[in-house]
Symmetry: C2
Amino acid sequence: MKFLKAYNPDRIKEMMREHFSNIEIETEIIHISEAQYRYSSMDIMSSVNIPDFNKSTVDGYALMSSDTRGASESMPVFLDVSGEVLMGTESHTEVVENTCVYIPTGGMIPKGADAVVMIEYTEKLKEDTVAVNMAMHPGKNIIYIGEDINVDDIIVKKGRKITAFDMGALSAIGVSEISVFKKPKAVIISSGDEIRKPEVEIKLGEVRDINSFVVGALIEKYGGEVIYKSIVNDDEGSLFNEVEKWIDKTDIVIVSGGSSAGIKDVTAEVLDSFGEPGLFVHGAAVKPGKPTIMSCARNTALLGLPGHPGSSSIIFTIFGKELFKILLKKEETMAFYIEAELTYNLTGAPGKETYVMGTLELNDGKYLFNPLIKKSAAISQLSKSEGYVVIKSGTEGIQKGNIVKVYTE
Amino acid sequence: MKFLKAYNPDRIKEMMREHFSNIEIETEIIHISEAQYRYSSMDIMSSVNIPDFNKSTVDGYALMSSDTRGASESMPVFLDVSGEVLMGTESHTEVVENTCVYIPTGGMIPKGADAVVMIEYTEKLKEDTVAVNMAMHPGKNIIYIGEDINVDDIIVKKGRKITAFDMGALSAIGVSEISVFKKPKAVIISSGDEIRKPEVEIKLGEVRDINSFVVGALIEKYGGEVIYKSIVNDDEGSLFNEVEKWIDKTDIVIVSGGSSAGIKDVTAEVLDSFGEPGLFVHGAAVKPGKPTIMSCARNTALLGLPGHPGSSSIIFTIFGKELFKILLKKEETMAFYIEAELTYNLTGAPGKETYVMGTLELNDGKYLFNPLIKKSAAISQLSKSEGYVVIKSGTEGIQKGNIVKVYTE
C-alpha cells in the first residue's frame, strides 16, 4: 500500500479537485417551482427583455414631462385626462401636449408620454382634469424595456444554487423548466463491531450510531442524497464486500469509523483496492480528524472518516462540503464569517490546522465566541455549536479577547 | 370595512403573534433520518446517560495513574499487559497495580483503571510489557458515564429546527422517531389580469408571474409547503371565490399582487369578509411594501402582499418569516448579521422602516455592502442580493463609509 503523509487541508482540497473533477454527475430537467437549493447544470440566458414594454412603477398619470415644468403645490399645472391604460393590454391612447392618461402600476406607458406622476401628487378636479403638483423629469417612474433584464443576459450561472429570487427571475423570462445536476448519490458504511442502530436495545459496551446521521444530514445540506446506510463489522472482508456492492451504484462511498485498531489500518487498504488512481489521502493535518482517507476509483469518490463524532463532523464540514462543490461544479461564493471576540484561550496543535466549534453571543452590540471545549466525542457539544474558528497551522493559538472569524455555515 | 393606519414592523409582529398564535398546526411522527430542517413539536429528553459506560477517547493502555508517577521519556515506567479490551463488549479484566490493559478508542475502561495513556507515549518491549513515557493524571483520556448527556437532559427543545448534529444526538440516546410539526400548508393566489404563467406565450402588456415563485420558495425555506397556486382575475368576485375555496383546506392563504387600482381596494375587504377577528393590518410602515394586508379567520392566516416583486420579497422576508416562527412555535434564535462598510449613501423614507438589499464584498479583510439601488421592480437585482440592511424609521439615512449590519438570512 502507498504510504502518504498527512497533508494540510488546502493541499488536500487541491488533490480532491484533481481526482474528483472527472466524476460525472448526471443532469435532469425539473420545473422551476422545484428548483430551490438545486444546482444549475448550465448557464441560463434570457431570450427576452424585461420589461418587454416601458412600464409604470406607480399608480398615476402618464404625461409629457415638459408639461410639468415649474409645477408645485402652490402652482400646479392642469392637464386633461384623455384616457386610461388597462393592465395587461397594449395602450392605444397617445399622450399629446397638455394631456395625460391614467396608468396603474405595471401598466404600459402610452405613446407620447415620458414620465408618470404619482397619484399622491395630483388632484382630480373634474372627471377629465387633474392638477399636477410636482415637476417631473423625463423617465420619472418609468422602467424601460430591458432595464431589468436584457436579451442574452445570463440569469443563472452553471453551478449556481438556485434561490427563491432566481426562480422568480426564471419565471419572468418565461423559463419554466431548467436542467440541474442530479443529487450526487452517497452510501454510508459505518464500520464497527460496537455500533448499533438507534432502534435497537444496546448491551453494555455497545454504542448507537451517530456519524451516519450527522454525515447523512450534511450530505443533504451540501446537495446530495443518501441512498443507503449500512453497518458492517470491523473486518477487512466485510468492509471490502460492502464497498464492492455499492461502488458502481453510487457517486460517493463513505466509510465512517472503524474504531478498532485493526480496521483503522485496513480501511485505507480496502479503499485503495478498487483500481486507479486509488488512495491519495491518508491522514489530514487537521485537529480533530487526523485519520482521514480519500481514494478515487471507478468514477466514485471513496472517503474514510474518523470514528469520533466530533472529528468526523469537522472533517466532513471541511472536505464533504468541498467534495460537493467539485461534483456539482458549484459557483465560487464567499464563505461569510462573523467577527467575534474570543472568550477563552485557544491552543493550536503543532503542524495542524485546528478547528474549534462554539456558540455566538451578542453582548453590548458585540459578538462573543464561546468555544465548546469538552472532549471531542461529545455529541451534546456539537448540537449546541453555531459556528467554528480555524487556528492555522504554525500558530501557537489565539488569546482570549482577540477578534476571530467565525464561520457559521 | 375597518380603516387601519400603517403600523411599524415591530407592532405588526406583535399583532401577528396575538392573532396567529392560536392557529394550530398538526404534528406527525417521522424517522430522525428525515428530520433535518423540521421543527420539533415537543421537548425531547434523554432517558439514558451518554456514554453509558466509562470510555477511552484514545487508543492506548488503561492503567492506574498512580503507577505512572514521575514517568518520562528518559525514565519510563514498565507495566505488564494483562489483557485487551474488545470493542462493543463489557470488559472483565481488572487492572491492578503495575499492570495495564490495551484499549481501543471507544472501549470500556476496565475495573481498577483510572486513566489511559495514548499508544504514542508507550513502547512495547515484549509481548506482555510496555514502557510508559508520560505521567498520567486520574481521568486522563477517559470520558465518564453521563459526561456528554445525562438522563433527563433536554436534547431537542420544542420549536427547534433539527440540525445534522441533533440527529446524531437523538440517535445516540436511542430515539429513532420524533414528533414534528407538519409543514404549514399555504395557497398562493396571484391576482392580476395581466399575470401569466412562465409556460405560456405572452402578449404585449402582459407579464409573467414572479411573486408566486419567490414567495413559494420562501415558504419552503421557512418550513412550510405550497399546496396550490392559482392566478385569478382582478375582481372582487373571483378573489372571494378563490379564498373561500381554500380557506378551510389550508393554514395560510396569500393573495399576491392585485396591481390594478380596483383590486387594491377590494383585497382588504375580501380578506376581512371571512369572519372574526378579521382584518388587523392594512398598510405597513415599511419601504418598499406599504400595501401589506393581514387578516385572520377560520383558523387560517390571510395575507395580502404588494404586487412589486421587490416589495413583496421584502415584506415576505420580514412578515412571512415571522408567520412561520409563530405557527411552528420556533425556538428564539439570534438573527446573525455581518458588519460591513456602506459604499453608497442611503436615504430612509420618513416614518417608515426602509429595507435595502445589496451585495457583500471582501476588500482588504473588510466587508463592503453595495446597495442594489435600481428600481424596486427589478427582479435581476433581487437575484444578486446577498443580504439587506434596515434603516430605522426616524433616521434620515446612512452615509457612505458607515458600518451597517447586514442580515444575510
